[in-house]
Amino acid sequence: MQILLLSAGFFVLVAISVSSVLLVNKAREDNARVVHTVEAEGQIANLLLEVRRAESATRAYLLSSAPQFLDEYQAAAARILPALDQLEKLTQDNPAQVANAAKLRKAVEQRLSEFARGVDRIKNSDVATAVTVLRDGTSTSAVETIASVGRDMRNEEDRLFRERTETADRTQKLASSVTIAGSAMVLALAFGSVLLVRQSSRARDQAEARMRDANLNLEATVDERTADLREANDEIQRFAYIVSHDLRSPLVNIMGFTSELEELGGDIFRRIGGLTQVATGGPPPAGEIVLEGADKQLSADFAEALGFIKSSIAKMDRLISAILNLTREGRREFVPVKIDTRELIEAIVSTLAHQATEAQAEIHVEPLPNIISDRLALEQIFSNLIDNGIKYLKSGVPGEIRIRGRTKLGYAIFEISDNGRGIDPKDHQRIFDLFRRAGTQDKPGQGIGLAHVRALVRRLGGTMSVSSELNTGSTFTITLPIAWNASNRNADR
């Protein structure tokens, strides 16, 4: 719309300019014509005046024969023809005037010849003939023709003058009205443009306001959702805590009374043994009682059953403890401190030195970037990963565990790689799940370590991944922010 208005305004301006130029040119032409008419009229008057002057000089010479008048006559007669030429030239453009001019020329030439004859007679002192010539002349048509043609020509020029003046006036009026109309149109277009601009700027302001509102809404929504998520997370933490806590209570009873049962069983079988011996006529039992036959089998079955119960309880207790520890870890407040990463890892390595020697493993710590993070969490992360590295080496191959570090875009990237047994790619996700393990189950463990490590890394605002193939070793990559800010994740607690 605006472009349309602008181009319309431009078009109008161009049109006005072109027509102004054209009209001004036309006005100049018209004026030139008016001037031309005035010149022609002047020339007619000039010619007639010269004719009169020649006539009166001739007469004066006739009366007085004074050479002074002869000179005057000659001067006037000499000016008449050029004046006539001039007049003809001026009136060339008008056929009627051309005809008139021809008539005039004829009459003037006749008159001139009469003057010349008259003057000639006077020179020859033939005054009477001269007078006759002149008198005849006056009565001939030449004088009348000159007078009437001169009048006609004047009238014609007057008419032309009026006509041309009118045309010139009209042209000028047209020019000015075109200019005024164009200006008015330009003004109208400008007004329209201003209106449009104001309208569009108002629309833009409204859109901006709407966008601001939307942004505010979005922020509020995000905050709300974050709060919801946080609440849900807290809820889960509490749930896990309470469940694991309350599960422990019955477990204490099961374990307690199983132990009681075990003791009772011992008592019962001792009595059975004693009674059997008494029944077979032997002496009453003294010291250790040895069961035999079916009784021995029963006692062994009893002990086996209790053994399974107890080992299951122990396992369940370990699982519950693990969940409790995880939730407790989730509730712990993280404190960001400046950490000399290399020192931290070397301390871990020295506590694991015994296991490393036993497993024939060497641990190499390469230069590492220092970061700001939670010390305890980092210790747990690295000790779990290094411990895993030592634990799951390939048997018969000297182990080599390498810890590398680098920084990238505000993040520190740590790699813990080993040449151990490796992890099947299909298990890469599974190993991070709680209570899940992969590969040959020949080492003690609950399947908690990596789940715990990943939870810690996430709380520290980082990510972790594994790349590994069976039998070629594993590399665990941890990406942590160089300067972790407690406020962004601690609120998850």
Binding site: P250, V252, N253, G256, E260, A314
Partner: protein, 146 residues
């Protein structure tokens, strides 16, 4: 045992109560044990009908307290006992499944004398209770008077 000390056991889990009592007896402690399965009954007994604790004036008490009770938290009971002028001298032994260090710290801050975690490992549990019995036999429990 010469001291006329009454053991008040506040424990909602009957099994736990039985195991505790059995192990106390095994350690040779023969004092009267009064068991309460919830906090309300225990509070009524300790503080009397008027809630002043005057009823226990002059009695020597030793309180075994579980923190997880169905009707109130053991922490509340501990706090009220230690704020009552007749009862605050009575030793309180907190028995619970929680080994949360924050909770242990809080109990000691409130004036608990001993904190025992009920381990699933029965041997440890029995040992802890038996040691508690020895502890009972050597400490001088002051009467809840003055």
């Amino acid at each position: 045992m010469t001291l006329p000390v009454t053991i008040i056991m506040i424990e909602d889990d009957e099994g736990h109560a039985r195991l505790i009592e059995r192990n106390i007896r095994r350690s040779g402690v023969n004092n009267e044990i009064i068991a309460f399965p919830n906090g309300t009954d225990a509070m009524k007994h300790l503080f009397g009908a008027d809630g002043s604790g005057l009823a226990q004036k002059g009695n020597s008490l030793l309180i075994l307290l579980d923190l997880n009770l169905p009707d109130m938290t053991g922490i509340d009971i501990l706090k009220q006992i230690k704020e009552n002028k007749y009862l605050k001298a009575s030793p309180v032994v907190v028995l619970t499944t929680t080994d949360d260090s924050q909770e242990i710290k809080r109990c000691y801050e409130l004036g608990c004398n001993v904190y025992i975690t009920k381990p699933v490992n029965y041997e440890n549990f029995a040992n802890a209770i038996r040691q508690l019995g020895l502890f009972f036999s050597v400490i001088q429990v002051p009467p809840a008077a003055s």
